[in-house]
Symmetry: C3
Subunit: 362 residues, 3 copies
């Protein structure tokens, strides 16, 4: 019903066109210096649909990026087997609840600090199965769209994620998840982990390992728990990353977050297929309602110090207010208080951020 939807009379071909614009502004306090400013955080357009009953396709581009880096979902899928989807192309590795949840639907403007360990999108193939009470996905991946190997091999990886929802009714959900993600670095033979202060505009990292050389591969393990209880929701994740080096010590980095949200107007977070979806207000603005209002609080922490690598350790508290005037609209205000950075370039710093966003997405 939203966006441009077309189907042929015999339903052999369906198409949908949609997009997303997030316009942000941020003001920063404390150290390190971060420049106040504005940003179009995402400006996406996509075309998606089905062909000949059993085939799906999608191409999505984010105009805030340059060249092939802006290619997000770009895949072909086959759904002709019962409860099984096969995908080939560019899409997200199956890893981490907050990463699987679309940026349209996460509770805050940015994901929590452990998103430094996000697996991201790669070109590959994946099989997945989705049921009311569990999902399982596993894939084999090459490198990112923008990686150009030249004379050297590109990196490759493999990943799997399982979710279990022993309770999954509308407005009553318990979710558990486990993700494993392996990546060989290929010809770059290097890795880097870094994170901003849960704010994207200034582009300043508060923790950063810088490029770690002689990295053969690394693997990540992520554990997830989440719940929806009427207007209340909560989720938490722990992610650890183990880096194997050709020389020098192996490295272990990790991080976790826990967050809770509450809809003052009584709505519930939607849960489906092992991740969170959008909000449908009880009354839309423009139809006599006031939309949906949500308060959210998060604590998150990340540790990028190990052996001689001093990337820094940080923890932060974020308070957010979301207003959804209608299902396709969202306004958010976030206050991020970085409690402490310990080690690294920004040792001892305690920056804070106030940021706002307007969003349309469908």
């Amino acid at each position: 019903d939203k966006g441009i939807n077309i189907k042929t009379r015999d339903e052999k071909f369906t198409s949908k066109i949609g997009g997303r614009v997030q316009a942000d502004a941020a003001a920063y306090g404390g150290e390190p210096d971060m420049g106040d400013g504005t940003e179009i955080r995402r400006a996406r357009l996509y075309i998606q649909g089905t062909m000949y009953h059993d085939w799906g396709y999608k191409l999505q581009y984010d105009f805030v990026d340059t060249g092939s880096a802006g290619i997000k979902d770009a895949y072909l899928s086959y759904t002709g087997f019962d409860n099984l989807e096969l995908k080939a192309g560019n899409f997200k590795d199956p890893f981490s609840l907050q990463e699987q949840t679309s940026s349209k639907f996460i509770s805050f403007m940015e994901r929590g600090l452990p998103s430094a360990f996000a697996a991201g999108r790669h070109i590959g193939v994946m099989a997945s199965t989705r049921h009311q009470h569990w999902t399982l996905a596993g894939g084999l991946f090459g490198d990112t769209v923008s990686a150009k190997g030249g004379a050297e091999d590109e990196g490759w990886g493999a990943g799997t994620r399982a979710t279990w929802a022993p309770v999954n009714n509308q407005a009553d959900v318990i979710h558990l998840g486990l993700g494993l993600n392996y990546r060989e670095t290929g010809g770059t033979n290097a890795a880097r982990f870094k994170q901003q202060a849960e704010s994207h505009i200034s582009g300043i990292n508060i923790v950063d390992t810088a490029t770690i050389a002689a990295v053969n591969d690394f693997y990540k393990v992520g554990a997830e728990i989440a719940t929806v209880q009427g207007p209340f929701s909560a989720q938490a994740e722990y992610i650890t990353t183990s880096v194997n080096r050709d020389s020098g010590n192996d490295l272990d980095f990790d991080g976790w977050y826990a967050q809770a949200g509450y809809f003052l107007t009584g709505e519930s977070r939607q849960y489906k297929n092992g991740k969170f979806g959008g909000i449908t207000p009880k009354g839309n603005v423009g139809d006599g309602g006031i939309g949906a209002w949500e308060l959210a609080l998060r604590y998150s922490t990340i540790d990028l110090n190990d052996a001689e690598i001093e990337g820094g350790e940080a923890d932060s508290v974020t308070l957010g207010v979301n207003w959804y005037p209608a299902p396709t609209l969202r306004f958010s205000a976030n206050y991020v208080d970085v409690l402490d950075v310990d080690g690294g370039t920004n040792d001892g710093d305690e920056p804070s951020v106030f940021q706002v966003r307007s969003q349309w997405a469908f």
Copy 2:
């Protein structure tokens, strides 16, 4: 009726997809050296529509630009108040008649020389009201989409524009306008004004202040007058820019243009909401007509010399022919004669340009 238009049965959601391609060729004479050539001047795609009666959205991208610089209109709007539109996102500052008028609809292939003082698009918020006889808009803006602040604050600005049309009937219009635009330079602490010979292909500037350092802020004032009298139309603008420097003299630059057009085939320029719109030929080519034929003449001048800054002063005369075979089509030929460049790198030069364009847009 043009482009891809979709609405849901309850009209809660409408979508329109459209685009624009301008293909140009130019040949240059005189000094400075400017290379003859061709160009896709604009290649735009957009999606635009309304949601839940009171909300509007738009995302427009120009593929001739690279990365986020190509993001043009990208906003969310609210029209639920009487005669008032609120906008958030990326869009044009309210300033200058020739800038407010879409590049699809300006009388020549390029805007007049004072377009060096265009305010352009920024990320911000704006309120505007539109009536048959007047419009008023005011906004608060951050920086451009492609500005990345890093550790320094981005620039910000504010602007307002008022228009008055004591006469506004079809084919009988008198328009007066006044615009004010302020901009703080942020961390760059610099400004630059430059202009090409009303031709974009070679990319050579005939006047150019180069980067002016130690600029804290600048403000612009623009006065507009225009009329439509049947097939005849005319418009003129004067813009002055005052640059405040932390050290050294403050600077004043200015420019103006006056132009007139006449439709041999009897059409009138469309005027609405304080700016000009498109042309509807009396008879379309393909439907037995010959389209609309317009002759246009413009004089424009700009002065970028002040204090020790010698950017150059230039004035030019442009003669144009436009053929609109149908409302979505346009072919243009322009001859630009730069009468003189006085001061700056190109002192004494008198280049000329012959350029043609084919355009489709809807």
Copy 3:
């Protein structure tokens, strides 16, 4: 019937939106070193249609490219004369059968080695006429979309292509073609010809003249022959390029390929307007069929050695399997065996490639 198709009630306006995603993976053997990896080879979106009966428009962008380089077809056309199409904008020069045939429909994942002499797309004007048994096209062109002349003139060119199909029935085709293409180099005054091992992922050229200086202009002649006989098809082309230099010897480079394909499932290659089109399987997967299966074999060779320029000579054999589960879908596997590189940087090398592709396109 495929993609998003809209027409107004009076059919004065039609629009179609479509796209294409090709996701590739490749593994390389032998010398020179070429990195195994993955790639989104093409990720295109387009809007195309007709306006007021006699006018056509198209804008197509490939997101794997950066900035204006990604602009593919971007033109306006007029079809109001009988059997004659006039075009203005950016589109392919009329040259070479394998280049005129869309990348969606070529028999292998990459075109044969002589594609080093492809004329590519330029901004220009073209007239063409198409009949069942012959086509003729001629155009005048400026430079590529991404060429920015600055103070120097951009390059320009002219081209023509004639095709004759003495037999042109469904599944029974004989095609002959001749193309001429001239190009002046403009301010760059240089030319370069290079080619990869019929594989795009690693980006390594096996033959490469490097930049040849003092090149005033060059012209290409291409001869084409092709046939369709039921499930069998074959095509061959010879292209020669003559480079005129301001100083030093003039240069001659050339190449040719011959290929054959056979549909195990009985389909025929579609031929229309002097080029090949897509495949319609006898039975679609998802509708009870197994799609169309095709085997294809190609020999191709290129010689970039002449006078003191030692770009290398290469020849290769490619074996391909294509599976079209439905008209909009394709999976391909190619094995490329470069028999020999003779001269140039990679003298004596004999690399091989195994590569696969998944594709949706409509």
